[in-house]
């Protein structure tokens, strides 16, 4: 039987856009020393998505808009706790406890009250193969927003993580960059939740940046490599998922992990 691989252009588009977005988000999180947030962001995104479904039913607020607003509020809350002097690990623990508890309550309420089981499933594991053109447009909007704002600023964002005081005396409004960071992380994680899924978001936030940091020798190389690794992992995982019949989101995670392991072996297992 001849080998055939069917690729819908919508799948390629949503995975490319999502991967490029996380190719920016991941080095941003690493360079701004926000790795502790990597485990927290998907939780706040899932809670925002669930609360937005409830708000949609109760008040007719469009769930996509509602989830974006709620996600921004939640991420701002945890960053506020830290800026007020709470240790990041303590703030993360408090925030996780809150979001996980509320997620369990919201999930139960949504599943038992509204017939939206497919959506909930896609929020958890991602559903790139069931995307509609409307989903593609929404993903494009989220990605263009995050990429458009952050691409020109990414080097400065990283420099803030390297030496915040020096960036301040160089005339950069660091608090504005902090705000952009919080907004970008909140928008990206909740906006792409349906495509990437809650579980894979943990990997997509962490691995491209960590892999690139171990491979490159310069800031520009690090930023470029994180972007390429995320894109390669995304598209490679999609193809792998189609070839094996496994869930593409899981395969994307495995592809990214493989890139990390191969790069580690290439550096002598360091």
């Amino acid at each position: 039987m001849p080998f055939e691989l069917f690729l819908d252009v919508r799948w390629i588009l949503v995975i490319s856009l999502s991967s490029m977005t996380f190719g920016i988000v991941s080095p941003l999180v690493l360079s701004r020393r926000l790795l502790f947030l990597a485990g927290t962001l998907p939780h706040s995104a899932l809670l925002s998505a669930l609360l937005a479904i409830i708000l949609d039913r109760a008040l007719s607020i469009p769930s996509q808009l509602g989830s974006l607003i709620l996600s921004v509020v939640l991420v701002a809350m945890v960053l506020r706790m830290i800026s007020r002097g709470l240790r990041p690990d303590v703030a993360t623990a408090i925030f996780l406890s809150l979001t996980v508890s509320l997620t369990a309550l919201s999930l139960y309420y949504v599943i038992t009250s509204f017939p939206v089981r497919e959506s909930i499933w896609s929020y958890l594991v991602g559903d790139p193969l069931l995307v509609t053109w409307e989903d593609v447009s929404y993903t494009a909007l989220i990605s263009l927003m995050v990429l458009g704002i952050n691409l020109p600023l990414l080097e400065r964002q990283a420099l803030i993580g390297a030496d915040r005081d020096f960036v301040k005396i160089s005339g950069v409004k660091v608090s504005l960059y902090d705000l952009i960071t919080a907004l970008s992380l909140a928008i990206a994680t909740v906006g792409l939740l349906k495509i990437i899924g809650f579980i894979l978001e943990h990997v997509m936030i962490l691995l491209p940046g960590i892999t690139a940091a171990s491979l490159s020798r310069s800031l520009r190389g690090f930023l470029l490599q994180a972007f390429i690794i995320s894109l390669l992992g995304g598209l490679g995982g999609l193809v792998l998922g189609l070839l094996t019949g496994l869930a593409p989101s899981g395969c994307i995670g495995l592809a990214l992990l493989s890139i990390y392991l191969v790069s580690s072996l290439g550096r002598g297992g360091r």
Binding site: A158, G161, I169, S170, G171, S218, L219, R220, G221
Partner: protein
């Protein structure tokens, strides 16, 4: 080139670090800030740069810069303590130095122009950075890192340089080379240096400021480095040795 503080008060929570201090430093020349750990040396620098909340006023070259790091940064190049600079991602020595210029550009995507590139090249030559300029900052030795941070502070040619504990994590050869550079700089800039070891700078220091949660003494090295002042600054850490041979040979610095 002049730094002036009026009624400078800094607190961390309920702890008073400075309480109504007034002083003025006029350059060029090397000004040494000494004191034990926790005396307030770093806090003093950060207060002068507008990086910590304070009461009072700070002027640089007659212009008020109180609580305004951007304005202070136009006149002051800052070399922080080495152990505070640990980028969580790879960055080459060259990129770190360039960042001082790039961060000041209006558009974040602008790179160095021809004049700035030639300035960078001359700094690389003058500070002996060419061997490791493309290497990741994280892989450099303490002395190499310190020279890179000094180059970053110098590339915008500010009239005032502040160096916080510049000899942390440095071998003796690295110290010697850095001291030579600092002494040359002090001939044309106001160089403010904090250090645990005042003896390294005695031959060049124009004035010494001794801190211990406030300014204990300030004046010429002969006036400040007396047993009485040192006891007030360092307490029981001061050990009197009747005959002490202290060799400082910086090869005719």
């Amino acid at each position: 080139m002049r730094v002036r503080a009026e009624n400078l008060s800094v607190r961390y929570g309920s702890e008073i670090i400075f309480d109504g201090e007034t002083f003025e430093l006029a350059g060029p020349g090397l000004f040494l800030v000494i004191g034990p750990n926790g005396a307030g040396k770093t806090t003093l620098f950060r207060a002068l740069l507008g990086l910590v909340g304070l009461r009072g006023r700070v002027y640089v070259n007659g212009i008020e810069v109180t609580g305004d790091p951007e304005r202070a940064g136009r006149f002051v190049g800052y070399v922080p303590q080495l152990n505070l600079i640990d980028p969580p991602f790879p960055i080459s020595a060259k990129e770190l130095i360039e960042s001082a210029i790039i961060l000041r550009k209006r558009a974040p995507t602008l790179r160095l122009n021809d004049r700035e590139s030639s300035l960078l090249k001359s700094l690389i030559r003058d500070l002996g950075l060419s061997e490791f300029i493309e290497k990741p900052f994280q892989q450099l030795s303490g002395g190499q890192k310190q020279r890179v941070l000094l180059a970053r502070a110098l590339i915008t040619d500010p009239p005032i340089i502040m160096m916080d504990e510049p000899f942390t994590a440095m071998d003796p050869a690295g110290r010697e080379s850095l001291i030579r550079m600092m002494f040359e700089l002090a001939d044309r800039k106001l160089l403010l240096v904090s250090s645990h070891d005042p003896t390294l700078f005695l031959q060049k220091a124009k004035a010494v400021m001794a801190l211990n949660r406030g300014i204990v003494a300030m004046g010429s090295p002969d006036d400040v480095l007396s047993e009485e002042v040192m006891r007030r600054v360092y307490g029981r850490s001061v050990v009197l040795v009747e005959r002490c041979l202290h060799v400082v040979d910086y090869h005719a610095v």
